[in-house]
Structures are given as structure tokens and as C-alpha cells.
Amino acid sequence: MKVGLFIPCYIDQFFPEVGIATLQLLEKQNCEVFFPEQQTCCGQPLANTGMEQDGKKIYNQLAQLFPKCDYVVVPSPSCVHHIREHYDIVEQTDEILHLRKNTYDIVEFLVDILKVEHLDARFPHRVGLHQSCHGLRGLQLAKPSELMKNIPSKWNKVLEMVEGIELAELNRPDECCGFGGTFAVAEEAISVKMGKDRLADHVANKVEVLTSGDMSCLMHLQGIARRQKSGLKIMHIANILNGDKL
């Protein structure tokens, strides 16, 4: 199985360890991983600010990198959601359709495509899961608390395969962290307040490590936690699943 790896811009630049863990996770599952170095970004920052027309070239360039891959895997539900849902404004070429149809978040890929039942990972810590909104409501990786139907959690499924892990219950299991892309800067006061409230929920429930599928949420939460000099540790879910140490 040939798997294209797309590492979103901010992970490439600021959190290479998340990219490395994703790559290693795929390699351990015997995927033939292809990483085209001409990649940059999915274009979401532009589109979420209303400038999707200016992102068309970026969309097409990304799609041209992966035509020969069976799947494209991304350690970010938010970028996957953007590619699937919002790449409808460019000409629907074979490359674009192929990318939209076959792009998966890493957790979604492990559960739905590779049907992984066992992971060689140990993480003896109390972990709080931040269910990022685009993963939760966009990709339906778990049941949003608003919906009255059963949607099994893919995040929990893989985390429960990790030896020694203890998952914390939160008071508000799926409240947004307040990152929201350019929202984080344009609505700075609310964005930070939302982040502070999320962190407080994890701290109140004795979380040692806060994890999520989306590093962008974590970048925001980590930024606040570090300013607060909080002892809360932050780690992307791919690192936990890959068996990385704290």
C-alpha cells in the first residue's frame, strides 16, 4: 500500500516530532510511505479568513503531489477536513478528486483503513483528550455531545491500545479550545479565555498529559500553559501511539 504523507506547514516548521511519529507509525504498519518535499500547506488559513479564491493554486499544487498514492495521511483532522470539504471550489480534476477521496487523518487511517487492533506502545500517564472540533464534528471521529446518536470514538479506540494509559474524564468533553486559525489573533481575548478554560478543566481532572489529534489546538493550549508556567504536559496523539516517551 502506497501512502502519501502530508505534514501540514506548522507541524513541519514547529513540531517535526509529530511528523516523525506519524511517519514511524505508518512504517511500523508496513506502509510504503512517500513524502513529496514540494508540499507546503492545505490553504486553510486563507480560506478560513474568507480568501479561498487566493488559495486555489495551493489546492491544485498539493493535489498534484499525490496522484500515485493509494492514500494520503495527515496528522491533523483539521487539514483533512479542509481538503475533503472545501476543495470543491477548484476544477474537479482527477488529482483533486483523488486527493479529496483518499485523504485521511492518521487516527482515522489506523482505525478505518488499516483496521489496527494492537499497537506496540506504552504510556503510563493520566491523559486528557482534547477532541478537536474538526475531527469531532467535521470528520465524526467520535460522538459530539450535541448529537443523540451513537458514534464510536476512534481516538479512544487507539488510545485504549496503549499500555498503561489512563484516560481522564472531563467536565466538558468537547468544548472548543479557542484556536480557530486566524481567530486566535483576530479575537485574541476570547481565544485565550477559551484556552484557559480548557486547560482548567484538564487540570481540575488531574490530567498529566493533554493530547489531541490536532497540533494547532495544542500549539494554542501549550502557548497559554507555558505562559501560566503550568505543569501540564502537551503531546500529539501520534507521539503517544508511536510509543514516544514523555
Binding site: C9, N48, T49, C133, E188, I190
Partner: protein, 455 residues
């Protein structure tokens, strides 16, 4: 006028009050969850309601004609208002004909939208809002901050002070039962004196020509049952095809709004009492224009339950007034730009696009998708501030070119690592006001890959 972001920053300065506001609304959201989870058919109800409303919007012209004909058969006087000005003028004329000087009005977001109170007061007509929350904010000379809980931003102690000043209640007494009793006595007099009663409309039934009004206080009925003239103001989108469709909506409305199985009063008005007059004013005010916008038309499905406000993490932490529009919150942020794109171009950005609003919506309006689409419209119409668009245009150029991207990334990382703190954390860096930037690694993933795999 200041933007949502600026108003929100002011609201949030009082962090304890922000937490109180957030907590109060979160409780309402939880009540909604408890109530919805007790109905195994909840998601089916939402889907059914959504489809009925789709049918209404697709056949609105016919339903409106049918509604008017049936209402007329019942002796109701029907008026058509193309905009807020016409709405107010029509009501002014009805009141003038009856020489009505004292009016009671139950909750109606439509009359808020049309600024009816200001219009009538300018003609020296007394108009009293009879919903308790509405009465409180009317005394405070404020706009509602929520469409179902208009005074949710006010604490009971503040109501105690207000009533002491306005109604002569004991100083320092903020017991809700005591204050409610005082309001009831005050309003009872207003009901007895009223020359006319005005209400909003929750649902109009095309098949019967009747209107349905849902309240918890019975105040709409108190007005209509005592005044010689009753006037119901209804947006064109409020119609349902048949009476049999109503149950779907009444089951959803109160559960979504407050978690109650139904509102205390669900009143059906079909014709005037003997010796009195019943009027229905059907209002467009931009709705038919919205109906013509494919991406945005289904915002007209809204039944004004307020669930999107209660669930919205931004609304809960910024208060309804931060939206500076008649309808606040997520639904207001998609309705208001249709009325005035320039004035409300900040509202679609008052969201992280978390999508919770769409998931609670009892009629399945894709609110967060529409927020995203309004953002695109705002840019297309040159309403996006240059402070946002210019940096992003530069970003686009960088992202279009992988080698530029690699170089810019490297420079950015090394700057974060090496520049003195004051050069990074200053007034120009909104991210860094209350947050640290990520620790910039020496090596990007691409650089690591080149060294470790690409050999």
C-alpha cells in the same frame, strides 16, 4: 462602532462575570442535552423538521397566499409589510384607527428587528414589554442579549436594584420570587389598561390561517384576552403547511431552548373575540432576498430557540451585546450580514467554526458552513480589513512556492530562537499577548526527512 472582537475584549475584562455568564448558559445547554437524550427519536425529529422547513421555503409563495386566504375567512385582517418601515407604519395606522395609546407587547424578535418600540414611543404611544426578561431590559433601556433569555446578562441583584428604582420594591431585596411578584403586579395593571396587544408569532399554519404563540409566562395571552385589538407580527418564514406538522416543532422548540418538554403556554389564535379585532402583519424585511441566496437561504428555517447561543463557546464568553445586531450568536452572525454586509462584516469571524451550533440546531441549519461562506462573500465584496488580507496575500505567495516557504520558515524559526524577547513579545504580536510562541526547533520535518530517510 466597535467590532465584536473589541466588545468581547471589554466583556471579558471582568473574568468572574464572564465565568458566571458562561456557566449560566452552559447549564441551559446541559438541560437541552438531558431533555433531548430522553427522546430516542430526537435525530429523526430534527431531520423531519428540517425537511418540513425545506418544503416551506421551496413553496413559500403558495403557502403565504393560502395562509392569507384562510386567515381572511376567519375574519382576520391581514397586512403585508415589505420592510421594517412598512411594518411600523401599518401598526401605527391600526393603533391610530383605534385611538390606542397604551400597548402591551409580548416577546417578538421581529418587532425588535423593526425597532417598533422606538417608533411608537416617538409618537407618544406607551409600549410595555410584558415578558419579564424583556421588561427588565426595557427598563434598563437596553436591547435583548439573547433571543429566548433576553436578560441573561443581568444578575438578580441588579434586577433588585432596578425594581427598587422603577417599581418601589424594598432596597436590597433580590429574592426572585419577591421580584417576580412585584413585576406581576406591575404588569397586571398594564394588561388591564391596554388599548391593544401586540405579539410575535412562533408558527403560522397555512392550512388554517391561524398563528401559534409559545410563552412560559402566558403574557401573550394576557394581552390578547383583555385588549380590544390584537396584532400579531410574523416574518414570512414562520409558516408551516399544516397543523399536523406543528407537533414536530413544539417538541423540538422548548427542549432546544430550555430543556422543557414544551413551553408552558402554546396558544393558537384563529379569530378575534366578539367585539374585538385581530390583525396579522406579514413581514419580509430582507427575507425574500435571503431566500434567493442558495448558500444562505436555509437560515430562514430558524425557529428562534436560541440553542446555538447556549452552546456557542464564543457567545457564552462575550455576551449577546458584543454582536451589535438584533439577533446575536451564531444564527445572528449568519442572518445579519444579509441585512447589511458592511455593518456586520465582523460577525462571521466571531467563531472558531467549531460546528457545535449546527449540531444543536433543531432544524439542522448548517450554521458553521454559512459562517465560512459569509467570510468568502465578505472578502469578495472588499469588506475584509486590509490588516487581514494583505498579510494573508503574502502568506499565499509563500505557500505557493515550496523553496520560499522553506527559507521563510527557517528564518522565522531562527528569529524566534535568537531575537530578544521584547522584539517578539510586543504590541504587534497579538498571539504573544497572553501566549508563548512554540519553541522553534533547529530542524523542520523536511530537513529531518532529508537527513534520515531521503538518502
Amino acid at each position: 462602532m466597535s467590532t465584536h472582537s473589541e466588545k468581547a475584549a471589554v466583556f471579558i475584562k471582568d473574568e468572574a462575570r464572564t465565568d458566571w455568564h458562561d456557566g449560566a448558559l452552559w447549564k441551559v445547554r446541559q438541560k437541552r442535552d438531558d431533555s433531548a437524550s430522553q427522546l430516542p427519536e430526537w435525530e429523526l425529529l430534527r431531520e423531519t423538521a428540517s425537511q418540513i422547513k425545506d418544503n416551506v421555503l421551496s413553496n413559500l409563495d403558495n403557502y403565504l397566499v393560502q395562509f392569507e386566504a384562510e386567515a381572511k375567512k376567519n375574519g382576520v385582517i391581514v397586512h403585508w409589510a415589505e420592510d421594517a418601515v412598512a411594518h411600523n407604519r401599518i401598526i401605527g395606522e391600526i393603533l391610530k384607527k383605534h385611538n390606542a395609546r397604551k400597548i402591551v407587547k409580548s416577546k417578538s424578535m421581529l418587532t425588535e428587528e423593526c425597532k417598533l418600540n422606538d417608533f411608537l414611543e416617538s409618537k407618544n404611544i406607551e409600549i410595555i414589554d410584558t415578558d419579564l426578561g424583556e421588561r427588565i431590559i426595557q427598563m434598563r433601556k437596553e436591547a435583548p442579549s439573547h433571543i429566548v433569555l433576553p436578560a441573561i446578562h443581568i444578575k438578580k441583584e441588579e434586577v433588585g436594584e432596578l425594581f427598587h428604582k422603577e417599581l418601589g420594591t424594598e432596597k436590597g431585596n433580590s429574592d426572585p420570587t419577591y421580584l417576580t411578584k412585584a413585576a406581576r403586579t406591575h404588569l397586571r395593571d398594564k394588561f388591564f389598561e391596554a388599548d391593544a396587544a401586540i405579539t410575535g408569532v412562533n408558527f403560522g399554519i397555512a392550512e388554517t390561517g391561524g398563528v401559534v404563540i409559545c410563552t412560559n409566562e402566558g403574557n401573550a395571552d394576557m394581552g390578547c384576552h383583555s385588549a380590544p385589538v390584537q396584532i400579531h407580527c410574523m416574518g414570512i418564514e414562520k409558516l408551516l403547511p399544516k397543523a399536523e406538522h406543528l407537533g414536530v416543532f413544539t417538541r423540538l422548540l422548548a427542549r432546544s431552548a430550555t430543556g422543557q418538554p414544551s413551553t408552558i403556554y402554546t396558544s393558537h389564535y384563529h379569530r378575534a373575540r366578539q367585539g374585538s379585532e385581530m390583525h396579522i402583519v406579514i413581514v419580509d424585511n430582507g427575507r425574500s432576498e435571503l431566500l434567493g441566496k442558495e448558500d444562505f437561504r436555509n437560515s430562514l428555517k430558524c425557529i428562534r430557540c436560541g440553542a446555538c447561543m447556549n452552546t456557542c463557546p464564543i457567545y457564552r464568553r462575550s455576551g449577546g451585546h458584543s454582536y451589535h445586531s438584533t439577533i446575536p450568536g451564531p444564527i445572528g452572525a449568519i442572518l445579519s450580514p444579509n441585512l447589511n454586509l458592511t455593518e456586520y462584516s465582523d460577525l462571521p469571524f466571531a467563531s472558531t467554526l467549531c460546528g457545535s451550533c449546527s449540531d444543536v440546531c433543531p432544524v439542522k441549519i448548517n450554521i458553521h458552513d454559512q459562517l465560512y461562506k459569509w467570510r468568502q462573500e465578505i472578502y469578495k465584496n472588499n469588506e475584509l480589513p486590509k490588516s487581514k488580507s494583505i498579510p494573508l496575500k503574502i502568506t499565499a505567495k509563500v505557500l505557493e512556492n515550496p523553496s520560499t516557504y522553506n527559507i521563510v520558515g527557517k528564518i522565522a524559526r531562527s528569529s524566534i530562537r535568537s531575537l530578544p524577547r521584547f522584539m517578539i513579545y510586543n504590541g504587534l504580536n497579538a498571539w504573544g499577548k497572553q501566549r508563548e510562541l512554540p519553541e522553534a526547533p533547529n530542524e523542520s520535518f523536511k530537513e529531518w526527512y532529508k537527513m534520515n530517510r531521503d538518502v
